[in-house]
């Protein structure tokens, strides 16, 4: 990567689109020149976002490809979508610190139980109110995610948020996790997707949701409490953090390393109810009393720091490990480029990772400025989520009810925030190109084309499609046709006019990137 100063940036500044913040600049490789300008634009909109939408096409045409990419790498300079701000204006919870959300949830429950004398009835009222509030917050998080992906000008950030959430996956619809899931994505994951990987890793490690999901909050040194109940080690998080979050299953760790790391991380807990003085606003609590202070050896390295510093040092070591650089460069390249990405590219990304101590913006820049990034399309079969979001974008509508989009995702086997296991959803074709999945895409394309996608959602029975849900055929054609082969276009044009939009929205070159 080289930094350019000069004319293009000056031009952009004159246009007043970037403001005065010093920019990030990516040089396009020679390989990009094999495409016409519109082809470059469509390639970038697809690879660094969820495909063309009327807004994003206008933006990239106005800025040019290079400046558009530079902007995408500095999302904080772009506004959030208007629809996002609307959602949050009425429901600000997801921008609160985790501890505040949990405290409010607790108060909501207590308020509902007030004045009920029968303890059982009281408990029920408390639980019902708490669950209801949690479910509402979970629904808000789901709507917000879809709205951001569909409407946000920060398209790369949205895709990276999807990637890193999936990498640090938690299962959403579960008890109290529901309440802080949106907070986890917006405050823990999203601000760090172009930062240093170890900061992201540590933030997830300390998030109440991860501490709950992978049970580390219950892991402690061995002791017996006053009631005679024995407590001790739970190695779930320690294993997954090495297997999935950092080194990879081939990363060369042993069962001893897992156990040692679990000891290191004892005392890392969450305190949702603010019961303890030391609880931080993010809901994290380090309990010295439950921490096992013994020195431990992980991957041959001795960790004898006091208290929380021991875990922090061990996690930083894992984040900077060559196996981690390799594992995550591979995954990023698979996500953005191909199921089987060129090893040379992965090697270069991994080298950059090590040279910059895991600076994710640097690693992404290597990817985007590589010749491999600008090779032909059609190497990546869209996942259901990517298919759905890109298809809604290409339809040009702003869905009147984004919640209705959850049902087709369920039917395609990829419920939003619904991956039970910490490995996250697979991203390769073999996982998603199957009969049921394809049939559901075809069904979705048909109902979307008729302005009736809402009908997919049985739980929204009674909801009626709104006029703004009806896509405009000319828009769909303008956004999708540049990607279609002459043969596909011909087949579409042979079909009755009423079928043509659905055929575009499920065309072969649209199902692949």
């Amino acid at each position: 990567m080289t930094i350019r100063t000069t004319t293009r940036r000056a031009l952009v500044l004159v246009l007043g689109l970037l403001g005065s913040v010093p920019g990030w600049a990516v040089d396009l490789p020679a390989a990009a020149q094999q495409w016409s300008v519109p082809q470059q634009q469509w390639l970038v909109l697809n690879r660094l976002g969820y495909g063309p939408s009327p807004d994003s096409v206008a933006r990239i045409q106005q800025l040019g490809v290079s400046a558009y990419i530079d902007q995408q790498l500095q999302p904080q300079q772009l506004p959030e979508a208007r629809q996002t701000r609307q959602l949050l204006a009425t429901q600000p919870w997801l921008d609160w610190p985790a501890a505040r959300i949990m405290a409010r949830l607790y108060q909501t429950g207590q308020a509902a139980g007030e004045g009920i004398s029968d303890p059982q009835a009281r408990q029920l009222a408390v639980r019902t109110a708490t669950n209801q509030q949690s479910r509402q917050l979970f629904m808000l998080a789901q709507k917000l995610r879809l709205t951001e992906a569909i409407s946000s000008p920060r398209q790369l950030e949205a895709r990276l948020t999807e990637f890193w959430f999936n990498h640090f996956n938690v299962f959403g619809p579960l008890g109290s996790i529901q309440a802080t899931l949106g907070q986890y994505e917006r405050q823990v994951i999203r601000p760090r997707v172009l930062g240093r990987f170890e900061d992201l890793l540590l933030a997830t490690a300390r998030s109440p949701i991860m501490l709950t999901y992978l049970n580390n909050e219950k892991s402690s040194r061995a002791y017996v409490d006053a009631r005679g109940t024995a407590h001790g080690l739970n190695e779930n998080y320690a294993r997954e953090v090495m297997e999935l979050h950092t080194l990879g299953v081939q990363g060369g760790y042993t069962q001893q390393d897992v156990t040692a790391l679990a000891h290191v991380l004892t005392g890392w807990r969450q305190d949702g109810l603010g019961k303890y003085q030391d609880t931080r606003p993010d809901g994290f609590l380090f309990s010295a009393a439950l921490h096992d202070p013994a020195p431990q050896v992980v991957l041959g390295q001795r960790f004898d720091q006091p208290g929380e510093a021991q875990g922090e040092a061990a996690l930083r070591m894992l984040a900077r490990h060559p196996a981690t650089a390799q594992h995550l460069s591979q995954q990023l390249a698979e996500f953005f480029l191909a199921d089987d990405p060129p090893p040379a590219l992965v090697r270069r990304m991994s080298q950059r990772w090590l040279a910059t101590q895991g600076d994710l913006r640097e690693v992404m820049t290597v990817l985007i400025s590589s010749p491999e990034f600008w090779q032909q399309r059609g190497q990546k079969f869209k996942t259901p989520y990517r298919y759905l979001v890109s298809t809604v974008r290409a339809s040009g509508i702003q869905p009147s009810n984004p919640a209705a989009l959850l049902a087709p995702l369920n039917a395609m086997g990829m419920p939003l925030y619904g991956r039970l296991t910490p490995d996250g959803y697979p991203q390769d074709k073999s996982a998603w190109l199957n009969p049921v999945g394809l049939q559901t895409r075809v069904n979705f394309a048909q109902t979307l084309a008729r302005g009736r996608y809402i009908w997919h959602a049985a739980e929204l029975q009674g909801a009626t499609p709104q006029p703004e849900d009806q896509p405009d055929p000319a828009t769909v054609s303008r956004l999708i046709d540049p990607l279609l082969s002459p043969q596909t276009l011909q087949r579409i044009q042979q079909a009755p006019a009423a079928q043509q939009m659905a055929l575009r929205l499920a065309a072969p070159e649209w199902l692949y990137d």
């Binding site: 049970n215 024995a230 739970n234 079909a495």
Partner: protein, 447 residues
């Protein structure tokens, strides 16, 4: 290594059997095909809570909080033999044990050391551990052993197909052999099914033309259309199998009309507690299987077995809830199959077992050996098979988990040979990696 003598012996048995007209006596049964139903419990079910070694002092000591009591004690297990008992939540299956068509093989698993769910499931679905480049190259990444099994049945009988009940096609059934993938989690009545078929037939199919030059898309699309047509046509014809009145509650949880069900559906839609949906799936599997003899290999998977926390015991906790749903579903399947049960084998398996010792949070962590469940007309039930390694320190795997003394493939290979008549060469194709032949399973298969 392959035990050639074992295979030759089983082949000899098959040939003799055929010559003697083994399957001749009952005409209805002679025309019914052999069936294999595989139910995969994802997340590693705690086998020591399924077939419980209640008599073992090491077991009681290792599980002070979540251990299950001996038969006859309050909330005790149901007696299987002197050593083992059945989890009380599995009581609906106990009559099958008493009638002799339910058996278990203890200490089963994959010999590999993995304690990763994802890796272990993948290995167990591939039917091998792709340790060598040769194996990877020969089989590709995505061809499951159950698909290879299906390939041979399909060759013998072109109408034979596999059915994966669920929302997507799992690795175990990915591959070249025909597979129908259909979500059976919601009950579809006959009249509704007929209406769906009719409406499909009316539409002209522009999408098939759209995918004409894209073989992968076209194959998936045609498969979906044809599979859907086949399933719906069968359901349109299928009379609802007789159910005992006591079984209807098992289905009510998936009835979209009830209020409790609405909540449950919401959960299931997000992928949670899938075991709750199993009774409905099992009920419909039985409807389809009795109707369509071509459905020879059937698969479904259930989640939520990863009980690191709050595993519970006989009456409380996630495990008993999920086991209860599984048992009710299996009961519905067996009842619904009626006479077809005689030629069906149901296998319940999981990627690995869980730690002998209860962890610090009322649960169990990832372990090694597990128990495999076998139900069917050909199974000589009423016995716990397998070579029990014990729970003493010297018997445990890495001094912490139940050891694996029977390779899961050995049990499956036995069914392939004895029930389906697959030969040595076919078996080597299905399970290309050498594995330890089974010990002590000689009596498992009748006939």
């Amino acid at each position: 290594m392959w035990n050639r003598r074992y295979w030759l012996r089983s082949m000899a048995g098959l040939v003799t059997g055929t010559a003697l007209g083994w399957s001749a006596p009952v005409s209805a049964q002679a025309t019914r095909p052999a069936r294999l139903v595989v139910i995969f419990l994802r997340g590693a079910v705690d086998g020591l809570s399924v077939v419980v070694p209640h008599g073992d002092a090491d077991y009681r000591q290792a599980r002070p909080g979540i251990g299950l009591a001996a038969p006859g004690q309050p909330d005790g297990v149901l007696p299987l033999d002197r050593q083992f008992g059945l989890h009380p939540a599995l009581a609906p299956l106990y009559p099958l044990w008493q009638q002799g068509s339910l058996a278990f093989v203890q200490a089963v698993g994959s010999p590999g050391p993995s304690r990763s769910h994802f890796e272990a499931q993948q290995f167990m679905e591939l039917g091998f551990e792709p340790v060598t480049a040769l194996l990877r190259q020969r089989l590709g990444r995505n061809e499951g052993w159950l698909n290879r099994w299906m390939t041979d049945l399909h060759r013998q009988q072109p109408s034979a197909t596999a059915l994966a009940a669920g929302r997507s096609l799992p690795l175990i059934l990915q591959g070249p052999a025909p597979v129908i993938n259909y979500d059976l989690g919601r009950i579809i009545q006959a009249d509704k099914a007929a209406a769906l078929v009719a409406s499909q037939n009316r539409q002209q199919d522009w999408f098939a033309q759209l995918y004409q030059n894209h073989p992968e898309l076209l194959a998936a699309y045609q498969n979906a259309r044809q599979g859907q047509q086949r399933v719906l046509s069968e359901l349109a014809e299928a009379p609802a199998p007789a159910m005992e009145a006591t079984m209807t509650p098992a289905l009510s949880s998936t009835d979209p009309r009830s209020a409790a069900a609405a909540q449950e559906k919401q959960m299931a839609d997000h992928g949670a507690a899938p075991a709750n949906g199993f009774p409905a799936t099992a009920y419909q599997l039985a409807r389809l299987m009795t109707q369509d003899p071509g459905l020879q290999v059937l698969f479904t998977d259930l989640g939520d077995w990863d009980t690191h926390i709050g595993q519970g015991n006989a009456r409380r906790g996630r495990l008993q809830g999920n086991l209860g749903a599984l048992a009710r579903g299996l009961q519905l399947l067996v009842q619904g199959l009626g006479e077809d049960y005689a030629r069906t084998t149901v296998v319940v398996m999981s990627e690995f077992g869980r730690t002998l010792h209860e962890n610090g949070t009322g649960g169990t962590d990832h372990g090694h050996g597990n128990v495999m469940w076998l139900l069917g007309g050909g199974i000589r039930g009423g016995s716990v098979y397998g070579d029990w390694p014990g729970l003493g320190r010297e018997g445990l795997y890495q001094q912490r988990d139940l050891a694996v003394t029977t390779d899961y493939r050995a049990v499956l290979a036995l069914l392939a040979a004895r029930q389906f008549g697959l030969n040595d060469a076919q078996l080597q194709r299905i399970f290309p990696q050498p594995f330890q032949p089974a010990r002590g399973l000689d009596r498992l298969w009748r006939g």
